[in-house]
């Protein structure tokens, strides 16, 4: 087994365990990642509106 195969095997074992892990909020990682991106979008919109409102 060469280096990358050994590494892949180690990571695959790890990934299967990973599927069992859940975030403490929002139940799935996909939902949490979407939440972080959505927060960024909202912040940019708020900053833009803030700038326009007071300028």
């Amino acid at each position: 087994m060469n280096g990358s195969e050994s590494l892949n095997s180690q990571l695959e074992t790890g990934n299967s365990k990973l599927l069992e892990e859940h975030p403490p909020f929002l139940k799935t990682w996909h939902k949490l990642y979407s939440f972080v991106v959505a927060e960024l979008v909202v912040l940019i919109i708020v900053f833009y509106a803030f700038m326009k409102l007071f300028s």
């Binding site: 074992t13 990642y33 972080v36 960024l40 940019i44 700038m51």
Partner: protein
């Protein structure tokens, strides 16, 4: 500063050192010392990540930057949340499952020894330079503001950090980061409230924002695409994302923070919380700077905020020219003040024509003020003095207008911020020195006790080096700024190496190693022969390393090396 301020400052600093020693007790091996036994919770990781990133300059320079340049700097952070998500998906599970101590250790698993050593050396050189600057930059500011010798400020800061980092290792570093972030954010929040309360009675918070808007300081989002414009939406989103990917994914001073996580979940949550808090935090600090700007629309500001440079120019052959500039600055201030009063009155009465006219007058008066500040800076430069006073704007406001006790607290914030970023850097430098260099190349068979002793020694030595660098850095002059830019010259290459490791399974170590040198050549060419903003260097370096390695790989006929760490 009053006696009470000194007491607040001393007690705050002493509490950080004592808390660090208390929290770090009981490390018996290098896993405990360098990775806090991998037992950290996500909120500790998040605050530790934020505290490592936020140096004293973040809290002294950022409000000053908003004063001068408005809020556009916040766009630099737009790519950061995206980078946090990408790293949470990719890097965190890999690092955790392999149980590595450093990010570079993974590169030996994936590629070969030479790639690991190359990237760890790049880190040690660039971060080694940065640690001196991290101590030096606030030391020089505090020296000017407090009238202390720079040797005292840098030794005081560095010495305190060495005590608790050497004693307790990463456990001390992480827990004191939480405490330091609490102190810093409390101080900034209080300064914000005081800045609002210091506005004239007839000027509300919203009036202040309108004045800031009319003065062009609320420029938080600019969608114009311009490669030469350092901060706009696109450079922040794309360039900023690459900077964040490189910094949080390949720089051991950040990777070490989330390697301390008890599980993948804890580490991921730490990164994601950082992604959620960082942008609003920077917005808040910039808004504080804008409020300081508005405050100085009603209270006459000095032409130059650095008191030492003001005294020096007043005693030089240019004193008469400087005095004339000050007089013109006073006139511009008074015209601006009346234009602002007219603007607020016109707004209140709903007179749109008068509002627009007053707004134009404010813009014109601001333009004159900025031009006079520029002329003063040129005069300082002509006299061989430091012409950039951005770092002194906020501290000058703190010293002059904040009540007793809070001045001490705000200065404690600056010290705490220096300690937080420096301690994170020291622990990362020590871990890479011991794990990637000493243990891997020179002594692979010693016992845990030996590695613990040399880890402590490495931590202390990097600390002493940081203090020594800070004391000699004053002789480097403008080179200090150059050193900061040099740091950004390496991130793109390091990111390219890690992207190849994560996503290009067929690319081997030799192709990556050669492409890393080609990538560096490309970045240095951009630096030397073009005017593009340094935020794009990371994109260029990363792109050339990935593209170069993919193209080279078939000719070298190498796959991932069987070398093991």
């Amino acid at each position: 500063m009053t006696t009470f301020d000194w007491i607040v400052l001393f007690l705050t600093l002493a509490s950080i050192v004592l808390y660090g020693i208390y929290k770090g007790r009981g490390s018996k091996n290098i896993q405990g010392y360098l990775l806090a036994d991998r037992k950290m919770k996500w909120y500790v990781i998040a605050f530790s990540i934020m505290a490592t990133q936020a140096s004293a300059i973040t809290f002294t320079s950022t409000p000053g930057q908003a004063f001068v340049d408005g809020m556009r700097f916040v766009q630099f952070y737009f790519g950061l949340p995206l980078a946090m998500v990408i790293l949470a998906v990719t890097a965190v599970p890999i690092f955790h499952k392999l149980g590595v101590y450093t990010a570079y250790e993974y590169l030996e698993h994936r590629f070969d020894l030479k790639t690991r050593v190359l990237t760890s050396l790049i880190f040690l050189v660039s971060r080694g330079l940065a640690v001196g600057i991290t101590i030096y930059a606030p030391s020089i500011i505090l020296s000017v503001m407090l009238g202390w010798d720079i040797r005292i400020t840098s030794t005081l800061i560095g010495g305190a950090i060495i005590i608790y980092t050497t004693t307790g290792g990463v456990k001390s570093v992480s827990w004191t980061h939480v405490q330091q972030m609490f102190i810093i954010m409390s101080g900034m929040l209080i300064a914000f409230i005081i800045a609002v309360s210091l506005l004239p009675e007839d000027v509300s918070f919203f009036d202040a924002l309108r004045v800031a808007g009319a003065s062009g300081k609320l420029n938080a989002v600019d969608f114009t695409f311009d490669l030469d414009n350092r901060y706009n939406f696109w450079s922040g989103l794309i360039g900023g994302m690459f900077v964040a990917l490189a910094y949080f994914g390949t720089d051991q001073s950040q990777v070490q923070r989330y390697l301390t996580g008890q599980s993948v979940t804890e580490s991921r949550m730490g990164l994601l919380l950082n992604g959620m808090l960082k942008v609003p935090m920077q917005f808040f600090i910039l808004l504080l700077g804008v409020l300081v700007f508005v405050f100085y629309q009603f209270e006459k500001p000095p032409l130059v905020f650095n008191p030492v440079e003001t005294q020096a120019i007043a005693a030089s052959e240019y004193s008469e020219v400087y005095r004339q500039l000050e007089e013109q600055y006073d006139d511009a201030f008074h015209s601006k003040q009346s234009a602002i009063q007219e603007y607020l009155a016109a707004r209140q009465s709903g007179n749109e024509a008068a509002t627009a006219e007053a707004k134009q007058e404010i813009a014109a008066a601001n333009s004159i003020s900025s031009s006079l500040r520029l002329q003063a800076a040129e005069l300082l430069q002509k006299n061989g003095q430091d012409s950039n006073d951005t770092n002194y704007i906020f501290l000058s406001f703190v010293l002059k207008y904040l009540p007793t006790g809070l001045v001490g607290l705000l200065f404690a914030c600056i010290f705490a911020a220096t300690m937080s970023s420096t301690s994170g850097e020291l622990s990362a430098l020590a871990s890479s020195t011991i794990i990637d260099v000493y243990k891997r190349l020179f002594n692979r068979t010693a016992d845990e006790k030996h590695y613990l002793v040399v880890s402590r020694a490495a931590m202390a030595l990097w600390g002493v080096y940081g203090i020594a660098f800070a004391q000699f850095a004053s002789q480097l002059g403008t080179l200090v700024e150059a050193v900061n830019i040099i740091g950004s010259l390496f991130y793109g290459t390091m990111l390219g190496v890690f992207l190849l490791a994560f996503y290009f399974k067929r690319v081997g170590g030799t192709a990556t190693f050669i492409a890393a040198f080609v990538g560096e050549a490309a970045v240095f060419s951009c630096f030397m022969f073009t005017d593009i903003s340094w935020l794009w260097y990371n994109v260029v370096g990363c792109g050339v390393v990935v593209g170069g390695a993919v193209l080279l790989n078939p000719f070298l006929n190498t796959k991932a090396s069987p070398e093991k760490g």
